[in-house]
């Protein structure tokens, strides 16, 4: 490594350690406080009154929380499934073809949700879906599924594309040399090796969907609160450590998924 050569060590630069420490404190202190106060015995999110699991119990017994949780999970499941399928096709189309004119335009188009401000997409979807609602009368979960699928695509696409680009093309050539048709090459060689990328993309899409507030808030019909929008609604009234408890559970789910993926992809290698 060039930077570890004698004479330059970034760790010895003045202030480097301090800045790094400040960043880590800012990143993790709020999360730690949130988790700590989820176990508070009192009703305050700022004054510690002893250890208790009552807010977990109250969240668990809260019917609105139950419904929002189920809705969030169902939504994230369908959104990540649709987004990941679309992302696999998009990744294949952008890595397994000869470079063509307008390639970067296609790439930008796929990653549109990363560039267009979320609030703009939210308003645009609100207007579009309002029109459709009036025409068809349909008010189901379909709107949210479509909206979430769309903005999850780039998050699923990027890891899958990275995996495809890292794959040895001669393996696919070797398979076609051994009489495998293009579809068989995909089924027997490309797909099995792509799994870690697909899994990573799907998990990322799942977590992103689970987490979304802005677009959901605009697109949802009445009574279609997801966990994040329910929590936002609660914060507008009275803040109790119940929100902390729900957040802590969400955090645990996310961290578990990331760790699970980390080990899955390591074993697959």
């Amino acid at each position: 490594m060039a930077n570890s050569a004698k004479g330059f060590d970034v760790r010895k630069q003045w202030g480097f350690t301090t800045i790094a420490a400040v960043c880590f404190v800012l990143l993790y202190l709020p999360v730690v406080l949130l988790v700590v106060y989820s176990f508070n015995a009192g009703t305050s999110v700022a004054i510690w009154e002893g250890f208790s699991l009552q807010w977990y119990r109250s969240a668990w017994d809260n019917q609105q929380v139950q419904e929002a949780t189920v809705r969030s999970l169902v939504l994230a499941f369908w959104a990540s499934l649709i987004a990941t399928s679309a992302a696999v096709l998009a990744a294949l189309a952008t890595t397994r073809v000869r470079p063509f004119k307008g390639y970067s335009t296609v790439f930008a188009a796929i990653n549109q949700p990363l560039m267009v401000p979320e609030i703009v997409t939210a308003v645009a979807l609100l207007i579009l879906f309002a029109g459709i609602k009036v025409q068809t009368g349909y008010t189901g979960l379909g709107y949210l599924v479509l909206a979430h699928s769309a903005f999850c695509i780039p998050f699923a696409y990027l890891p899958i594309r990275a995996r495809l680009q890292g794959m040895d093309l001669t393996l696919e050539q070797a398979a076609s040399d051994l009489y495998a048709s293009p579809f068989q090459v995909f089924r027997r060689i490309t797909l099995p090796q792509l799994w870690p990328g697909i899994l990573a993309g799907a998990m990322l899409a799942f977590v992103i969907s689970l987490d979304d507030v802005v677009i959901t808030e605009f697109v949802k019909s009445a009574g279609q609160d997801t966990l994040p929008t329910y929590m936002l609604g609660q914060l507008r009234r009275v803040v109790t450590p119940e929100v902390n408890a729900i957040s802590t559970v969400l955090l645990a789910i996310s961290v578990t998924m990331v760790i699970a993926f980390f080990f899955l992809s390591r074993v697959k290698k």
Binding site: L171, A175, D177, Y179, S181, R188
Partner: protein
């Protein structure tokens, strides 16, 4: 039988246009061990990939037993390839790798199992059948790649520098092994290499390539003993190039006059008429003699000991040097030492008058 007729492959256009293959024609016979030999970038791998179907030639035709190959996609061509990187499927075991081609051909399960067992025995990998390909050594991977390509019993096996990643000792063993397999299976081998020794020891015929075209096709003996041009003589083995004047030509023999003024008979492929040209002669065909004898005289500049033989560098005139190689036989004593004036002699008919 593969007939490659006037095949060209161009990359790019305009000024950056690059001819990877330039008007290549060659016929590869049934059951022969045919080698494409040349330095890197000479087009040998491109030609192999044209046969396999991974590269579409810009011009020309490729047929096998009268059938046009170019209209077929790679998975419909009755050829299999051993890749330089082996390209073993990392998510499959040794057995599954070898079975892959047969499965794709839709062979019955029992037949696949039997053929795979045969192939594993042939390359001595039976004990490793259920290993993952990442858990076996480079030489073993090479043998699995070979078995995988042989299992569907292709008419032609294409080998793209399959031994280049192996160490010296293993490479020697695999050369003999490959030749044995080719003889046993009777499959046509098209072998790509940049290693001239590999080409000489294994091939029935060699095509020497340079800059996208074939310079000479012939048996190892022909290529080594009768190189048609300077590139071939230089690329294969060590060669002395001596300036000569060509005199009378009779049949394929010519009378050439050396820089010393003495004349000797040499082979002339082209039958060139008079004028100055180059004579190629192998170091082992020349010998040192006392200064008053031999065709050329010079000063012994350098003596290099190689174990099996010794090389003597003799300076003749200002910018002519000739290397003589003498085998170190038991009891042989060095007759000359550095600085001595010596004579160099070679028999009539061993030198080769080159085209250029």
């Amino acid at each position: 039988m593969i007939e490659i007729d006037k095949v060209s492959k161009a990359y790019g256009a305009g000024k950056s246009r690059f001819m990877a293959l330039n008007d290549v024609s060659v016929t590869i016979r049934k059951n022969e061990f045919f080698t494409l030999l040349g330095p890197s970038g000479c087009g040998k791998t491109t030609l192999l990939r044209v046969i396999a179907g991974f590269v579409d030639p810009t011009e020309g035709s490729v047929t096998m037993d009268g059938q046009d190959l170019l209209v077929l996609p790679p998975h419909r061509r009755p050829v299999n390839t051993v890749f330089q990187s082996y390209a073993l499927f990392p998510h499959l075991t040794v057995r599954q790798n070898i079975a892959f081609g047969l499965e794709m051909l839709g062979k019955p399960k029992a037949e696949i199992a039997q053929t795979v067992d045969e192939m594993m025995a042939l390359v001595q990998m039976t004990a490793m059948a259920d290993r993952q390909t990442g858990q076996i050594s480079g030489g073993q991977q090479q043998r699995v790649a070979l078995a995988r390509a042989l299992a569907p019993k292709p008419k032609v096996l294409l080998l793209d520098e399959p031994l280049s990643a192996l160490d010296f000792k293993l490479r020697k063993d695999m050369q003999i092994e490959l030749k044995r397999l080719q003889t046993e299976t009777g499959i046509t081998f098209v072998f790509v290499t940049h290693d001239q020794e590999e080409a000489l020891t294994m091939s029935d015929r060699i095509a020497v390539m340079s800059a996208g075209s074939i310079r000479q096709i012939g048996s190892p003996h022909d290529i080594y003993e009768q190189p048609a041009e300077r590139f071939v003589a230089d690329f294969i083995g060590d060669t002395n190039f001596l300036p000569v004047q060509v005199g009378t030509v009779q049949g394929d023999m010519a009378e050439v006059t050396l820089s010393s003024g003495k004349t000797v008979a040499a082979r002339a492929v082209l039958g060139g008429q008079g004028g100055g040209t180059t004579l190629a002669i192998r170091p082992e065909h020349t010998r040192l003699v006392p200064p008053d004898q031999g065709l050329l005289q010079g000063r012994l500049e350098n003596v290099v000991y190689f174990g099996t033989d010794t090389h003597y560098h003799v300076a003749i005139g200002k910018d002519e040097t000739i290397v003589t190689r003498a085998q170190n036989l038991p009891g042989s004593v060095a007759q000359f030492k550095t600085g001595d004036t010596v004579g160099v002699d070679f028999p009539a008919g061993v030198g080769q008058v080159l085209k250029d």
